[in-house]
């Protein structure tokens, strides 16, 4: 029973990370119809930036803010320089370019910081919490993670729904031509979408690194599982992304706990294939209308 509680709670904590990655993928997808394979690598890179700032200044929060800012800038820069030229071309080009970005960032991180394994400081202690004598399997840092991701999701949802910038973003994604006619600077909105996705990704990178080591490939599996979560929830739906992330996190933790960690990736693949075969739009999206 104790194990079950531990697995569930720590699964939710990991699920929050997947949710953050999934949300940033959904953001980019809805805005530019590109799947950003480099989302995890961008998160890793901003985590390295945070690491450098923290080591130089000794302050975690300064590094935190620096990473988020770097995420915004990196997202915007990537969209303008690398993605903009391939929008409108066959989707294959965008896929290859974003994979190129993925490994380019990993290589760059290795060259700048070395490929060694670093321990990344947590915002809050990583000693396990317990209620009475029942250890919960999560730490204060995990609670902070959950809070941060939910807050970010909430803020973004509110911004989308209630601000004029949000309205313009949605218009640019929904119907660029009409939006352009109405005076929306579509190009700028696309860049903004990528910048916000970069911010979410940076948050994910910051939150996941303390539990393990930071190294150039550290976000690879997390990205793949974040993508799986996004597909499960539906690439169109931010709510689906969060739900997909949490479900995936908990289920994979059970698999790892009761069946062994080697089975986790295989189970993720199976889940992905099943969802794509039987409910391609995801569990939380509307089914598409029939197309002829």
């Amino acid at each position: 029973m104790q194990e079950f509680v531990e697995f569930t709670l720590s699964g939710l904590a990991t699920g929050m990370i997947y949710a953050a990655i999934a949300m940033s993928l959904v953001l980019v997808w809805r805005g530019t119809r590109v799947l950003n394979y480099a989302q995890g690598a961008m998160a890793m890179f901003t985590a390295y930036i945070a690491f450098t700032v923290i080591n130089h200044t000794g302050s975690y929060w300064l590094g935190f803010v620096a990473a988020l800012m770097a995420g915004l800038i990196l997202g915007a820069a990537v969209e303008r320089t690398v993605i903009r030229p391939v929008t409108g071309k066959p989707p294959l080009n965008a896929v290859i370019v974003s994979i190129g970005l993925l490994i380019g960032l990993e290589g760059l991180a290795g060259v700048l910081y070395g490929s060694g394994y670093r321990s990344f400081p947590p915002a809050y202690p990583i000693t396990g919490l317990s209620i009475g004598s029942v250890a919960l399997g999560i730490t204060e840092n995990d609670l902070f993670t959950a809070g941060a991701v939910l807050a970010a999701a909430g803020l973004l949802a509110a911004a989308f729904r209630y601000s004029s910038v949000g309205l313009r973003l949605r218009a640019a994604a929904f119907s660029p031509g009409v939006a352009r006619l109405l005076g929306v600077r579509v190009g700028r909105m696309l860049t903004l979408g990528w910048a916000l996705a970069g911010l979410l990704g940076a948050l994910a990178g910051l939150l996941v690194s303390p539990g393990t080591f930071l190294y150039p490939n550290s976000m690879d599996t997390i990205f793949v599982l974040g993508f799986t979560a996004a597909v499960i929830g539906g690439l169109e739906s931010p709510v689906g992304a969060v739900a997909g992330g949490l479900i995936l996190g908990v289920v994979l933790n059970y698999v790892g706990g009761y069946l062994g960690s080697e089975s986790v990736d295989l189970f993720g693949l199976a889940a992905l294939l099943l969802v794509l075969m039987f409910r391609p739009t995801g569990l939380f999206s509307a089914a598409p209308a029939r197309r002829v």
């Binding site: 394979y37 760059l108 295989l266």
Partner: protein, 390 residues
Amino acid sequence: MPTLARHLGIAIVAAVVLLLATNSIGDYRNYQLTELAAFVVAVAGLTVLIGLSGQISIGNGAFMAVGGYIAALILADLNWPLIAILPAAVVGAALAGAIFGVAAARLRGPYLAGTTLMLAVALPSVATRFQSVLGGDQGLGFFVTVPGSVGSNVTLIHWQAWVSCAAALVTLVLLANLVRSRVGRSWRAVRDDEVAAALAGLNVARLQILAFVVSAACAGLGGMLLAMWNESVSPGLFSLTLSIQLLTAAVLGGLGSLAGAIWGSAVLVLVPTYLENLATSHGMTATTSSSVPILAYGVVLIAVMLAFPSGIQGALVLLARVTGLQQLARRAAGPLAWQSRRSVQSRPAAESSWSESESPRPESELSRPESESPRPQSQPAAESHEKGTL
């Protein structure tokens, strides 16, 4: 058929050249040649999949693993001769490709790419999941010996180079014929306009699955050759890095071009060590210099896609055209015309048939005004690639 005869003729000439070369270049170069030929086989299959049938796979390393492990298990348990193991590895990988192709038949674009990525990440863990049979992280040995009939002064590495090059030549001849055949034309039709192809009576799903089967079969053969070269199979041999390397080689060489598969593989085998040594000689420690080739892969992928989508083969074709070797250029252009045609036809919004079918999004978001713009007619000259040679 003149096509087959021509291809066989060239293959025989190349075989003679390779035979002479392997006899004189020494063991280390033969070792590299074996690796190169293994990659050529796998990359050729991948470039046909992506360039001709228009499906993206970042997971062909997984099919290489299937071929490699089948070969290792057969050799260890049943001790078949190499000539029997080879087709077994190919068939096994082809079957895996068929299964995956059926499961992924409805996927397009980013969904397909993402699923193949997941495949590449997840499949190595099968070896650790079934450690007792598949050897876990340590893997299984794969020790090929020189058959007695070959002669006693042929070293193992020399023999492996022969096997590898022979397999590569056979694969290239078969693929070249396939590309020129009806199947190849049907693939290109589906790639260019899936709806039109379906309306013209082509069975799109079956063609897509066939493309996966062919590329998986090539990958399986390449995996077996790589296992022979490495004298073992292990998850570390067939990692995600390998899948990305295959993609890089295919893109760099020129998508859809078999000659491009060779250029890309050559760069892949020879350049990274060179870059790493260059970095170390400039004072970088191992922990940073080992990342230089990775950075180079990324930059190459982006640069080629943005600036020169036709890759090395496209550059060679351009060079030939510029220096007046028109005839050679026309014959070599072949399937590469895919990229240049596509970029000519592209419009600001992704209106092509590709994106229509790839993402199952709600009806309302499909109403982009740009999607109504007509596409220019394909030029008659572009169809002449059927008659030309690669």
